[in-house]
């Protein structure tokens, strides 16, 4: 049986910090429509923010451009958030995990964003395609907290 993909919706806005809340609200509303509970919705919001923060800080570090987010479901089992930018190649999954056992003096202040994104999502994929960075966050719908 072929898999059923239904495109729920899409948003495309200039990549800047002022639009962060709009991107998050868009994903959050889509997640709510899929029936996720409040806790899971907050985790989805967090992963989305971390993905966008990385695009702003790295992919569009020296240039400007748009971010396009598409939310869809697959076989009604997966909620998929696809985040696309046209910045320089940046694979967030290549970032090393922070040492979360280090004490305060040894502890680095950065690197937690990608780490949280990976821990909170059921799956995260990155690919570079036609000069675009495409990050896919996958949330299983049977998830219960």
């Amino acid at each position: 049986m072929p898999e059923t993909i239904s495109v729920s919706s899409q948003i495309k806005l200039p990549a800047n910090i002022q639009n962060l809340q709009q991107f998050i609200n868009f994903v959050s509303n889509n997640a709510r429509q899929q029936g996720f509970d409040q806790k899971r919705i907050k985790e989805i919001e967090l992963a989305t923010e971390e993905a966008i923060a990385n695009i702003l800080n790295y992919a569009y570090r020296d240039t400007i451009g748009d971010i396009e987010i598409t939310c869809k479901t697959e076989d009604n089992e997966k909620f998929i958030i696809e985040i696309v930018d046209s910045g320089i190649p940046f694979n967030p999954l290549s970032v090393d995990d922070p040492d979360i056992r280090a004490d305060l003096s040894e502890r680095k202040v950065g690197g937690l964003g990608v780490f949280l994104m990976r821990k909170l999502m059921d799956d995260v994929h990155y690919r570079r395609d036609e000069n675009k960075n495409i990050l896919t966050l996958i949330v299983l719908k049977m998830y219960t907290s």
Binding site: K39, K42, E43, L46, E50, I100, S105, R107, G110, L112
Partner: protein
């Protein structure tokens, strides 16, 4: 985000409500920096009204805690719940910071230290 600060038994109690994200984290960090520059050294951060924190907020906390450590001060936490508590756990903050069940237990523990 809403920040309220008051002082009790020599401890600066800072309650944060709403969201600490990439947009509000600088304001949170600046608030704490100002209090540190006024000479405050022991902070109890009450997160019971916080519904969301991202890595930008965690970075502000780590930066502030490092600054305080140099001044022989400390950042303590109470009111952890929901997604905020989960993010603290995943990030290993439970092993860096002293976290208390309640404001009273924090104040008592500091008083007896």
């Amino acid at each position: 985000m809403e920040i309220n600060a008051r002082k009790e038994r020599g401890v600066q109690i800072v309650s944060v409500k709403g969201r600490i994200d990439a947009i509000t984290a600088p304001e949170f960090e600046n608030n704490l920096s100002e209090l540190i520059s006024k000479g405050e050294r022991t902070f109890l951060i009450d997160l019971s009204g916080l519904e969301y924190i991202s890595s930008a907020g965690l970075r502000s906390i780590l930066t502030t805690a490092k600054k305080l450590k140099e001044e022989k001060g400390e950042l303590l936490f109470t009111g952890l719940q929901g997604p905020v508590e989960e993010v603290f756990k995943i990030s290993g903050f439970h092993s860096i910071f002293r976290i208390f069940e309640s404001e009273i237990s924090a104040l008592n523990s500091i008083g007896n230290a």
